[in-house]
């Protein structure tokens, strides 16, 4: 597994994940990016919501 620091946790797939409400979700991608910033709208999968935002 790789912790990216500012972004998701990268785990080799397939992955079966139990969420805090007991729901089980799966992904069979070769690598799975698990959200660690809690901002993803496709939680628990990363959707790049962790990225820095600029006003420019």
């Amino acid at each position: 597994m790789v912790l990216t620091g500012d972004g998701p946790l990268l785990v080799e797939g397939p992955v079966e994940l139990t969420l805090d409400d007991g729901t089980v979700v799966t992904s069979d991608r070769f690598t799975v990016a698990i959200c660690t910033c809690r901002r993803s709208r496709t939680y628990p999968w990363c959707d790049t919501s962790h990225r820095r935002r600029s006003r420019s």
Partner: protein, 345 residues
């Protein structure tokens, strides 16, 4: 009757020949209708054409398509015809010069990669417009344009594989495997896009909208073929791949929202929703292992990788401006009017 060869009549895999857009493309089309070896337009013609204009870009597109699926009724031997390749080289020189000029003074690799990792709070451009106010007609135009790439999604990048090794190669091929459906034919991204087109009442036949696509769209597709087919541009191809995978996830989220708002259909929404999570993974893999691995092998390619990133942003911006300027003045962004939607097949 059922057999291992499949149960449905095969659809034609090749594309129909489009119409010409000027002296070079029309001359090339005339040649392609004859057996390979027929005279093609001379490379000197390339000197007088707009390097980013309809004629030169269509001619280049025709040359490149011979390497993909070819054209119905066109002699397959044209792919390696020396005179055609001589013309192609002249067109490519003009194109590459224009790309270098358009991206002159681009910053170094770290800076160009950083720049595409920042999400503007109030962004503008095609995906924002389609999400917030675009019409279904504009979404159909967008899909028709993009079909020139998405119906062969990730194919142009496959050319670079033999030029990579070790870490870069393993990571690159893993991403491509995902693009090609991870072993599931129904998940191949090009097939997902064909399903999106059916939801929008468009014809998903390969090459169907080549006549409709703008020069700016042809430039975005030709860029990938140019980078993919030249080993000398392998760094630029990897930069292009990184740029696309990095900018795709947030853009796809906006386009998925646009499809939802327009009630375009489940397949139309799914294509972009799949790209939100897929490309969030791909971005990490490409930046860490493909670029990291390639630079470990060939540190001197950093400049080329940065050029690939910058060129991708530049051609995509030009395409976006072309679409928005058409739509802001109430015009179609396509060269050919679309047929009204056919019932989803």
């Amino acid at each position: 009757m059922t057999s291992v060869l499949g149960t449905t009549a095969p659809k034609t895999l090749s594309a129909p020949l489009p119409g010409g857009r000027g002296e070079i493309s029309a001359g090339l089309l005339d040649a392609l209708r004859a057996p390979a070896g027929r005279a093609v337009p001379g490379p000197a013609l390339a000197a007088h054409a707009d390097p980013l204009g309809d004629d030169l870009q269509l001619a280049l597109y025709l040359c490149y398509e011979l390497h993909y699926r070819g054209f119905t009724g066109v002699d397959a031997s044209w792919e390696w015809d020396p005179e055609l390749l001589r013309l192609r080289a002249a067109l490519e020189r003009r194109f590459l010069d224009a790309l270098r000029e358009g991206t002159a003074g681009h910053p170094d690799l770290e800076a160009v990669l950083d720049a595409i990792l920042v999400e503007p709070v109030a962004g503008t451009g095609v995906s924002y417009h389609l999400r917030d106010r675009g019409t279904l007609a504009q979404m159909r135009e967008y899909a028709a344009h993009r079909s020139l790439y998405h119906l062969k999604e990730a194919d142009p990048h496959a050319w670079v594989i033999p030029r990579l090794r070790g870490r870069a190669k393993a990571a690159f091929v893993a991403v491509e495997y995902d693009e090609f459906g991870g072993g599931h034919a129904e998940r191949v991204h090009a097939e997902l896009f064909a399903a999106l087109m059916r939801d929008l009442g468009l014809d998903p036949s390969y090459g169907r909208y080549a006549d409709a696509a703008s020069a700016e769209m042809l430039v975005t597709v030709n860029l990938m073929s140019l980078f993919g087919l030249h080993r000398s541009l392998r760094g630029a191809l990897v930069g292009h791949f990184a740029a696309v995978e990095t900018t795709s996830s947030p853009g796809s989220r906006r386009l998925a929202a646009a499809m939802r708002r327009l009630e375009a259909g489940p397949a139309a929404e799914h294509f972009y929703a799949e790209h939100v999570t897929a490309d969030a993974v791909h971005e990490q893999v490409v930046r860490r292992d493909v670029i990291g691995g390639l630079l470990a092998d060939e540190p001197s390619l950093a400049r080329d990788i940065a050029f690939g990133v910058a060129a991708t942003g530049w051609v995509e911006d030009r395409f976006g401006v072309q679409l928005m300027s058409a739509w802001e003045t109430g015009r179609s962004s396509l060269r050919v009017r679309l047929d009204p939607p056919v019932a989803g097949g």
